[in-house]
Amino acid sequence: MRRLLSGIILCTLLLCGGTLAQEKRYKVMMILFRGTTPAETGFMDHLSSRLPVEFLVRDVAGERRKAQEFVEEARRERVDLIYTFGTSVTLEVVGATGKIDPAVHVTDIPVVFNIVADPVGAGLAPAFGATGRNLTGVSHLVPMADQLRAMQRFRQVAKLGVIYNASEPNSRLAVAQLRGLVGQFKLQLVEEAIISGPKPEAAEIAQAMRALIAARPGFIYLPSDSSLIERADAIVDLARPAGIPIISATEGPIREDGALMGLVSNYANAGAFAGYKAEQILRGKETVSNIPIETLRRFTLVVNMTTAVQLGVYPPLELIKIAELLQL
């Protein structure tokens, strides 16, 4: 009996082993914007733990035009998949919908992007979900409702201020989402728009902030908009004397500029999620055009405790337990 059983088990094992042995080695090119981040580590760790993969890591070092060289190389090397970091590199590699030039842009190699705040606004796809193009990827933006929920758990507020740049799509998207959620969260929304264009003057930001502070909101929301993120230190400095905390959509302003808190995507997790999508494509389980563009579903709550102490606004213990606390 025992011999029969072990025989059966052995056969099962052999069958499983057989399928493993047939797998080939894949070539994946990674085109990065400015060096390797935890997002790439997450991507590579996920993929190499599941498939035999050779990674060709290429860095444009902030010069998006250089991406074209790497695209050429990818074609020569006949890579199986291209990974792109960030909105500009991704646009450079695949082109915006409706402006695709097959001579320049990649149309025949599957592309998985990562850390693109707003793939829809950037013109990579008409909506979240499957694109129908040779493109899929992960947005690191956290759903607005989750951000607001985290904010309300931190501190119940009735009025939320938002500063935004009317000429930036990411800003407009955030405000539109906030407007859609005020009813659900019983919030009064106070908006201050900056209208001078993509490079606002310090004076204009200061003016908008003064108007916001005058309305005494419980929090001020800082959208994922690079034109504002660049001025995050000024925004935080203006709000601090009034005792108004900033909730930020991205991690940078919390870590570097003293925004109080934010619910943000962990780069390594976003990388692993992108890796999962790449795995589906390489295994042939799903074609790239059918794999949806998605955001993560698990996020990190980041709290700048130096700011918390300065403002005297302390996170409740249940958040302290789970949050990443920063002390600068």
Binding site: A308, V309, P315, E318, K321
Partner: protein, 669 residues
């Protein structure tokens, strides 16, 4: 003989209970010392986990007197640790700073006083009715306060109350298994040899000396066989001697002159019953955790929601089982019960071993199908064996015995399986199942004779029979409005949802097993009683089915009204009671109302078709519930299922009431 059996049952259960009480008592004594130590460890651990969070806040500069939302945090910790009665944070000088709600605490003022006066040297102390554990709360440079955690001091009593259920479970299952074993032993050592001796002597009384009694390995009454055989052999030798001398044989006597005598063997239904019980027990071990086992093979890449995927293996199992049954019947008639049962049990064994080593959903489905086919063969073989070898007068009793074995095995398996899997894990439990199932196969190989079916000629299933029955209004009403919904509830609610629901509430597998056991217990305890009542009710029998339907609908609504465990337990018991009331009269009602059609297609075929069609419910149940849970959560799924049951029952009652009013109640002679 019945009386002897009854007295034996009383004796054995008495002994068993005494033993269980004694063992539990001794175990309880042991508790005091070991459990106090363990609880102490647990409390210190909980205290530490709270202190870590508070200290994290302090380390990052939150002032000790400005910790935010602390009450809510402490209440959450208390909720997660049901043993904890209070959590209090005091300053160094013992003033209460933060605490859980103290209104339920006996003598809260005394507690405050005691904490204020507490010197901080003893980390654990009895304060009033509570056992208090203190943990230091350290700020950046120095200690800032204390965290006190209280648990009722009579914790042993509390734990004993919890463990009583465990003990009861084991006692109930032990009793059921013992009764099954006792029946087997009783049959093997007493009933079978007695029947054989009886037949032997009846033949001798008629002058037939040509038989011998089988060698008896169990050593009961059968020990007499050797001397009886020897005596008869001696008589035969002498007769042969006389015959060789040319003497005439006396008329009316026949002797074994060739020296080869046939063996008298008695057939005992208990032999197959025990193996059947063992096999059902083996297969049911996984009942309480199977959906959770399946969940680990889930991959979002399937493109289906988790809850639907979990339902698939149960559905496939039921489908394979249902499809096997019609073929298994004819096959077992051809090859004999011994071979059919052994092959079936062997397939189940192989299926279970492979299940233990499943690596993906695809192989799991394949292995479960193999198991199901084996299970189906065993099920049909046993049913046929009992039908054939139990005398006609005891026919109903035979079927009752079959069902009793089925439910006893099933509920014992579910309860024990839950306890086992908590300790051994999935794979080992499946291997254990396989071992038991192999034992059943081997036992049948040894104990059963090579009887080939003396079955009443079995018709093969004809499409025309299906049509004839389904076209009969009453058959269709009972099948589609009562039988199928009942099976959907059984497979979808009990087998599929209950394990997942309880797991979601954070309960262990052994508790799940125990809850599921309640269903079988309700059926076993209430079923026979209801059957008797329903037999007496005659023309009003359909009201039992209606009552059962409404009771089932109500039972499945209970989790919405009563939260947590309590709701689940009431629902499962309620469903058991509902099915005990409503399910067994279904076949009787069909017999009453569709007599003519049934005579046309044959009783056995009609039952077969009914059982086959009602399995639509078993097959669709898990997938249906899975889809509903994936769409809208447990509560809504339960509500929808309850509403469906309510609707079909109402329709069932209205249709029967209307048809009775139109034609007048059917008169049954």
């Amino acid at each position: 003989m019945k009386d002897l059996q009854r007295r034996l049952v009383v004796l054995v259960s008495g002994l068993l209970l005494l033993a269980a009480v004694f063992v539990s008592y001794r175990a309880g004594e042991h508790f005091e010392s070991s459990l106090t130590q363990r609880r102490l460890g647990v409390e210190t651990e909980i205290g530490r986990s709270v202190a870590v969070v508070v200290e994290k806040a302090l380390a990052f500069g939150v002032p000790f007197d400005q910790l935010a939302d602390t009450e809510r945090f402490l209440e959450a910790v208390k909720f997660d640790n049901p043993g904890v009665d209070y959590i209090i944070i005091t300053t160094l000088d013992g003033r209460l700073r933060y605490s859980t709600d103290l209104s339920q605490i006996s003598n809260a003022a005394g507690l405050r006083g005691a904490l204020a006066a507490w010197n901080g040297r003893e980390r654990t102390a009895h304060i009033g009715k509570y056992f208090n554990t203190a943990t230091a709360l350290n700020g950046k440079e120095r200690q800032l306060g204390w965290l006190h955690l209280g648990e009722r001091a009579n914790i042993i009593e509390q734990l004993l109350r919890d463990i009583v259920f465990d003990i009861l479970t084991v006692v109930v299952v032990a009793m059921l298994v013992t009764f099954e074993l006792m029946r087997l032993l009783f049959a093997a050592t007493f009933k079978t040899p007695m029947l054989a001796i009886n037949e032997f002597f009846t033949r001798i009384a008629n002058g037939d000396f040509r038989r011998t009694l089988a060698r008896d390995l169990f050593g009961g009454i059968g020990r007499l066989n050797r001397s009886i055989n020897a005596t008869v052999a001696e008589l035969n030798t002498r007769a042969r001697g006389r015959f060789a001398d040319g003497a005439q044989m006396p008329p009316g006597f026949s002797f074994d002159l060739a020296g080869e005598r046939g063996t008298v063997r008695a057939i005992a239904v208990e032999n197959i019953r025990w193996s059947f019980f063992l096999l059902i027990f083996a297969e049911s071990l996984s009942l309480s955790f199977f959906p959770i086992f399946v969940a680990q093979f889930y991959d979002p890449a399937f493109g289906l929601p988790l809850h639907v995927v979990i339902g698939i293996p149960i559905t496939v199992f039921m489908l394979a089982w249902a499809l096997t049954m019609p073929f298994a019947g004819t096959w077992c008639d051809r090859v004999g019960y011994r071979l059919a049962f052994s092959v079936g049990a062997a397939m189940t064994t192989i299926g279970l071993v492979l299940t233990a080593y499943s690596t993906s959903l695809a192989d799991l489905l394949l292995w479960r199908s193999i198991t199901a086919v084996g299970y189906g063969i065993v099920y049909v073989t046993t049913q046929a064996y009992i039908t054939v070898f139990v005398s006609t007068e005891e026919g109903t009793q035979g079927q009752a015995m079959f069902l009793a074995s089925f439910f006893t095995g099933s509920l014992s398996g579910a309860a024990i399986g839950g306890i086992l899997v908590d300790r051994l894990g999935f794979s080992t439990t499946f291997l254990l199942s396989a071992g038991l199932s192999a034992t059943a196969a081997l036992y049948v190989l040894r104990a059963l004779g090579n009887e080939i079916g003396r079955t009443v000629a079995r018709k093969s299933l004809l499409l025309a029979d299906f049509k004839a029955l389904l076209r009969h209004r009453h058959f269709a009403i009972v099948t589609f409005l009562s039988a199928i919904p009942a099976k959907v509830a059984l497979a979808g609610f009990l087998y599929y949802s209950v394990p997942l629901y309880l797991k979601g509430l954070g309960y262990s597998q052994s508790i799940t097993g125990r809850v599921m056991m309640a269903y079988g217990l309700a059926i076993i305890l209430i079923g026979p009683m209801v059957a008797r009542l329903a037999d007496r009710a005659r023309t009003r029998r359909w009201r039992f089915i209606m009552l059962g339907g409404y009771a089932a609908a109500l039972a499945m609504m209970v989790p919405l009204l009563v939260e947590n465990m309590k709701g689940a337990v009431i629902a499962v018991i309620g469903l058991g009671v509902a099915h005990a009331i409503g399910v067994s009269p279904q076949m009787t009602l069909i017999n009453d109302r569709c007599g003519e059609t049934i005579r046309e297609v044959g009783q056995a075929t009609a039952v077969g078709i009914f059982r086959l069609v009602e399995r639509i419910g078993t097959i669709t149940g898990p997938i249906l519930l899975g889809a509903m849970i994936a769409l809208s959560g447990f509560m809504n799924a339960f509500a929808v299922l309850a509403l469906i049951t309510f609707a079909t029952t109402t329709l069932f009652a209205l249709l029967l009431w209307w048809s009775d009013r139109a034609t007048g109640p059917v008169d049954i002679a």
